[in-house]
Symmetry: D3
Subunit: 132 residues, 6 copies
Amino acid sequence: MNERYERGLARQAELGGPGATRARAYDALADIAPDLSRLAVEFAYGDIHARPGLDPARRELVVLGVLTALGGVEPQLQAHLETALNVGVRPAELVEAIMQALPYAGFPRVFAAMTVARRVLQSRDLLPVPPP
Amino acid sequence: MNERYERGLARQAELGGPGATRARAYDALADIAPDLSRLAVEFAYGDIHARPGLDPARRELVVLGVLTALGGVEPQLQAHLETALNVGVRPAELVEAIMQALPYAGFPRVFAAMTVARRVLQSRDLLPVPPP
Amino acid sequence: MNERYERGLARQAELGGPGATRARAYDALADIAPDLSRLAVEFAYGDIHARPGLDPARRELVVLGVLTALGGVEPQLQAHLETALNVGVRPAELVEAIMQALPYAGFPRVFAAMTVARRVLQSRDLLPVPPP
Amino acid sequence: MNERYERGLARQAELGGPGATRARAYDALADIAPDLSRLAVEFAYGDIHARPGLDPARRELVVLGVLTALGGVEPQLQAHLETALNVGVRPAELVEAIMQALPYAGFPRVFAAMTVARRVLQSRDLLPVPPP
Amino acid sequence: MNERYERGLARQAELGGPGATRARAYDALADIAPDLSRLAVEFAYGDIHARPGLDPARRELVVLGVLTALGGVEPQLQAHLETALNVGVRPAELVEAIMQALPYAGFPRVFAAMTVARRVLQSRDLLPVPPP
Amino acid sequence: MNERYERGLARQAELGGPGATRARAYDALADIAPDLSRLAVEFAYGDIHARPGLDPARRELVVLGVLTALGGVEPQLQAHLETALNVGVRPAELVEAIMQALPYAGFPRVFAAMTVARRVLQSRDLLPVPPP
């Protein structure tokens, strides 16, 4: 096991573990592309998320913006909403972060992201979200 | 002048003014679609940026994520990088925010966004950016 | 209830009501982001759809073009196909509008949009569509 | 010259000629991919634009929606704004069509499209556009 | 039946038949837009896939790149993964082709494409894929 | 200098050097985000392009498909068209690869990519491209 992979795993652990969503995604591809999950740990976590200079909560807010704009990436959106909660982003802040994408990415992408957020918050018994 | 428009203008002023980039964009369309700039103030700023529950710096990080992922939106990217600096995001944090998009939006979108960031930081004499 | 919201609701009513699809989308997010549905009524309908200068059928054709190109926005596509029928766009015109996206957005986006259109037309007993 | 190509050329002529913008695009690629321009005439115009069942103005409104949403396609946007004017879409309707994309594609894509529209209208001495 | 359509059908047959996935997509839209399937055969296969100058395996690799980047186009991705196998692309090469999109389209699009590839390979009893 | 970076540089050298386009992109960001260029070498080249199991020409064809579909990524498109020529893809094959994106990504993205290809081929005195 190389240094980047270890650093990536360590960072995932600090972020609350890879989480059920992410672990399922990794396992599901083990028999076709085991390197894909390894590279996700090494590059996304070991090389990028583990960088200094921006705290984990702020990193997750950037990622939420990216994923909301991309569209069609529900598994990643779910995983990063879970991570955001793990690193201390409050439910009402998550909702605001998705709302903030409205003028730039439009209503359809925001409705889609909010629908995923609802599922994540519901699974943690965090609904209804109090207004900010 | 309606309440939303006033709230939008006030929020823009708090965020450091509409900024030269944004003001130019608004003026340039005055003879074709004056309502477009008005709606940007009313909706983007009066309805969304002015919402409570997430501080301006975090809002701008979400917007950076969205704009980096969309691609081809340099004027808005420039305007929001300026706003992010205005509300206290440090240059090294801006760079990290754009780096954080790498695993999700890929290198080409990140190179494009970083090129705009370089122009903004250079115009404020903030280069070179010290490593985090 | 403010003026924009009322104007938005009125315009939705003129367009045949919010429709079952849209109403379900709004209800589903009531406990996480009630402002999102309100803003959809205020901004999308009160500020934009209610504008003069372009008739509702033509507005819906623009929206169909946008949604077909975006991809991954089935709920909105379904809602706007329903609205288009409500404001007098004939089924064969709807089909042609989606076909017209082919050279610009490519076959995959058009197949996806046509599949949603088929579901909408079937639910209204409007299949088969007579050739133009 | 085959039947589709002739039908495509005829339809382009009915739409006001290929227009300077489109002709330049075709000529510019003559020494690398002459089939690309031929296929644009055959498929986009001979197979699609020439279809019955939706009038040319409405077809152009769909195309405007698609191109606004795609982003980064200025030459095509310019060509189709010219065509839309040729087939009787009034300047104020063009502006409204682009405004209508706001809730779905967001402000950045709409600002970009409006900037191209401004250039087209200016080149035809159609500015300022009277409010609807 | 015209020459392009025949050429398109012939090319589809050479590529291993339209395949179950593609045939189902065509049939499903027969009562709403029969011309859409016809044009897919004529344009995508008769005009493009049937061109000389690039062998079918290489054409499918380009298509995989396009579809992976677009996102949200699972039916087409599935059909073209099947075609790629039919024309001799080995399973490990398919996996590598999708991996190659990582630095440019990002992890979420690649995870989505790999998930479809897994389904296709599993349906042909080609799992696990031996490492390259 | 780590092993991945060295492997990435070695692979870039095998692919004909980073090329003028890519080198300029790297240099231009040295004072804002030097890690971005390093990670491009390490991840894109050391981790991905250097993988076994798919030859360099085929890898570049996938990348061309991805970049054509993304749109707005001219510097990367130019760099990879140069690389493709370096690893033996013939000009007529490059043209065909871009043409092959037509049914999936549409004409505007293909015109944009072909325009970049024309510039690259012209700079190497490879125009006109003989028909396949």
